[in-house]
Subunit: 232 residues, 2 copies
């Protein structure tokens, strides 16, 4: 593998706060970036609009959008419109968990990485200020990396695939500080699970709560547009 190949990265990119920061980190580290957005028929499909808008800021990123309809499987408030997004904390893994979502996303990313001869897959998972999803934790990422190198031609031939997760142990406020230093425009990013069609955040879901607290703790102005009815 040439040095050039080692400096190529595939970034799983949803248009959210975490993956946009991850994208900025990969670019800052000098990687040639391909962004992979997975349109899984999620409830908050304004994400797709946001992801395209954010990528259009950069002239040097190839953007791939891959469609997979996880609403056919369902089992989550994010993929089944008959299940409401909760606005209060519950114990255990919340109903916004999408069965095996990050395993599916990383598998598709690994397939693209093999095809495109990319050895670094960046993913903005975080296991500190998060909803407790099992597939955001370091032990899952480590096990995925081991598995994928046993299950791919790339791995067997000794050119290992690396799953790079720069945010995994950072607080949300730290992520926001790092991104701000890298000139991320957070007004373009979306986090809300119940976004309106025009991209306004609900301000109440788990994801909004972590985001709001992150900006407060970072002492950085929160550019998020919340629905007018939301008291913040």
């Amino acid at each position: 593998m040439s040095v050039d190949d080692n400096k190529k990265a595939l970034v799983l990119f949803s248009g959210g706060l975490d993956s946009t920061t991850t994208l900025a980190i990969a670019l800052a580290k000098g990687f040639a970036v391909t962004a992979l957005t997975i349109n899984y028929q999620q409830r908050h499909n304004y994400e797709l609009v946001a992801s395209k808008k954010i990528i259009s800021n950069y002239s040097n990123i190839k953007h791939i959008i891959f469609n997979i309809d996880l609403s056919l499987i369902g089992g989550s408030a994010l993929t089944d419109k008959d299940i409401d997004v909760p606005t209060t904390k519950t114990s255990g893994i919340p109903i916004t968990y999408v069965p095996a979502r990050n395993t599916i996303f990383l598998s598709i990313a690994a397939s693209y990485a093999e095809k495109l001869n990319i050895s670094n897959i960046f993913m903005g998972v975080n296991a500190i200020d998060y909803s407790g999803y099992p597939d955001c934790r370091p032990e899952f990422i480590t096990a995925f990396e081991k598995m994928i190198n046993l299950g791919t031609k790339t791995g067997v031939e000794g050119l290992s695939l690396k799953i790079v997760t720069p945010l995994i142990k950072m607080k949300k406020s730290e992520i926001i500080k790092v991104g701000t230093d890298l000139n991320v425009d957070y007004s373009q990013t979306v986090s809300c699970y119940s976004l309106s069609d025009t991209g306004e955040a609900c301000g109440k879901c788990d994801s909004c709560m972590f985001r709001k607290k992150g900006f407060i703790d970072a002492n950085i102005n929160d550019p998020t547009i919340y629905k007018k009815s939301t008291k913040i």
Copy 2:
């Protein structure tokens, strides 16, 4: 988890010789079976026709067909029509390898298994009479099982997902003998990588070669219909 849940199986089912035998084994073991066929825009899409025909033999199997377009990724003779299926042996992993295919398939299966409260995922991978694909080997399956139990709600809550691979260490002839004892009608199954639109096998590709030799070694009549131009 109730006893009933433990006796539910999701079988990854392509309509091929191996997965049809695996289906018969799961049924013979008393599992309530859901068959999952993944239509990945493979070259040999007669597989889909065959899978429906085989399932129609059974009154007690739920059949799910899930679409994912891996031809958008390509990188394989099975998903890129510009790459010919080889008819001679080459060294190393052949060009019919589809990047990360079984990882993607098992990930989708795991997502369905969680939604449907199924703990056993059957897959007809084989690491004896096979083309050397890394994602057919026991070490990959073991690593996948470990990873998926770290990355899913099911696993974290202690109701583990099991990847069951009854054929993994069997010769093709042994698989055919087991299936024949279980009344599998192999005339309905397809193995060829270059099937004609009407389901005739080429007789030359890797998959045809393993299948032909399997029937010969098992001393069982081969019901496969080969193209007339093929010398067998």
